[in-house]
Amino acid sequence: MGLDRHETARHSAAEGAVAIGQTDQLASGRKLRFAAFALIMFLVIPILLGRSPYFITVLTNGAVLSFISMGVWITFSIGRMNLAQGAFALVGGYAAAILSTRYGISFWLCLPVSGLVSAALGAIIGWPVLRLKGVYFAMTTLSLTEAIRLLALNGGDITKGATGIVNIPRPGPISIFGITILRFDGANPLPYYFLACTLLVLGILGVWRLSASRLGWVFRSLRQNEDLATSIGINVAKYRVMAFAICCFMGGIGGAFFAAFHQNIYPATYTIADSVNFMLYCFLGGLAYIFGPAVGAFLLVISFELLHAVQDYQTLIYGLLMIACMLWLPNGILSLGRIHFRQRKNLVS
């Protein structure tokens, strides 16, 4: 018993230090792991798989889906299960499509603007909707995904209805000192891959920063007890809208990327299934981990491709796998690698 207590205190102390200091060994260990991850994404994978457009495309999808899911992870951190991310990816995609085809605006400007459009819409819709909690919020956001799809379908000349917007221009080349280093043509998906990895790495850094900052702690306080947060002067409504808007921003950026990557967007590009998937990625990776959404997304996207071999039963096996994960790994895949954390959980309960 004495030992147990000591253990508990030690782990909590470590956690506390990471939270409010970011200076101890644990944090530097994380930095190292993150650097290794970036190295693999930017160097190892392109060298090993660079010749296979198929794999590169799969990984590009995985990276941007991770990025979009990280937004959902942020809404999880304020204690809301968000099933509207598909809607905001669609908004971002359409924003980019309309800006680039109709007004000829460069992709590089469209990308952030689409994110902002999504975030603005998210803030407007989120303000009333975020007052709902639990299943009520989940139901409403699920309906929102369908509502935005219908909006796109009935958008008349602006969204071009069911025919969608096609022939979206590719991103312009990136050059440094007049030397083109990345040319986005149809032949090679590698430049898109690099762009996707950049988004993902920036996304992880951003979320990491967020969760270590006071803002992250305020978000966490909202999840644990909104009334108490209010009583100590936290403007609960403001911060939850902020969290939701950040989430929508990431959804919008992801949507804009895919619009340029596939060069088209339709009302059915993001449906309820996509909203559900974004959430599942977070969950399967582990809601307690910043890498959770990325691990979940890559694992599911890759396993889905691997299951091509058993084509007829692909989706079925996929579904069963996910249920199995929920039943036997309720804290996500990353919880496997953290046995000592698990032990702590046992002590706690």
Binding site: A19, S213, W217, I232, G233
Partner: protein, 260 residues
Amino acid sequence: MTLAILEVQGITKRFGGLTAVNDVSFVVEKEAILSVIGPNGAGKSTLFKLISSFLPPTFGQVSYEGHRITGLSPHEVARRGVVRTFQETSIFKEMTALQNVVVAHHLRCRASSFGLYFSSATARADEERFRKSATEILVYLGLGPVKNALARNLPHGHLRALGIAVAMAAEPKVLLLDEPFAGMNIEETEAAVKLVRGVRERGVTVILVEHDMSAVMRISDRIVVLNFGIKIAEGTPAEIQKNEAVIEAYLGRADDELGH
């Protein structure tokens, strides 16, 4: 002459046909300890929510330092210095005691949201300050040894103290304590009474809602008695003990009270 810091003026709350609080008025003086007592269902908790703006009143208003705070959102009220605790032990369970109190320093943040995010120099200085001040508050409330324990692992008595520590971190000028002695044994109550007195000595006005009569009589400067939502008496502990209406209200309900 002492100064009034908080004034409750003719406040009324109706839920449908039920009047939970009916035309209650009283004045709280600066750095006093005022208790609101009454039998179960007398409207004490509702009154609390009305003062802290967690509920809007049907009629009447609350003023704080001469300004009306009724109608402000609850976090605004907290910002001005009227901070409440909760009846049940309400803390951030998945954080350590220290993290609880550091987060609760929110009102003292000088950095903007962007600053918070990018950890600007101001934000970092803030955090440093908060950690010091949080540790100081925890030590003061006897929680020093457990400051790094997860809140959900703390025993009941510590949780109550942590609840007060969280509220103190918001630098209240008026602290509303909802049944701070509920479920405590004699020793724990004794410690808690000391703690509340200590809080007052730091220049904080305390309003508390409480069942425990002996603790209330010892600690309070003034007592307000509610019954069926109506204020039936107000005065010093000595006056209240002699008050006919109060005795009747409690005797009339003696069976109920014993039932608990």
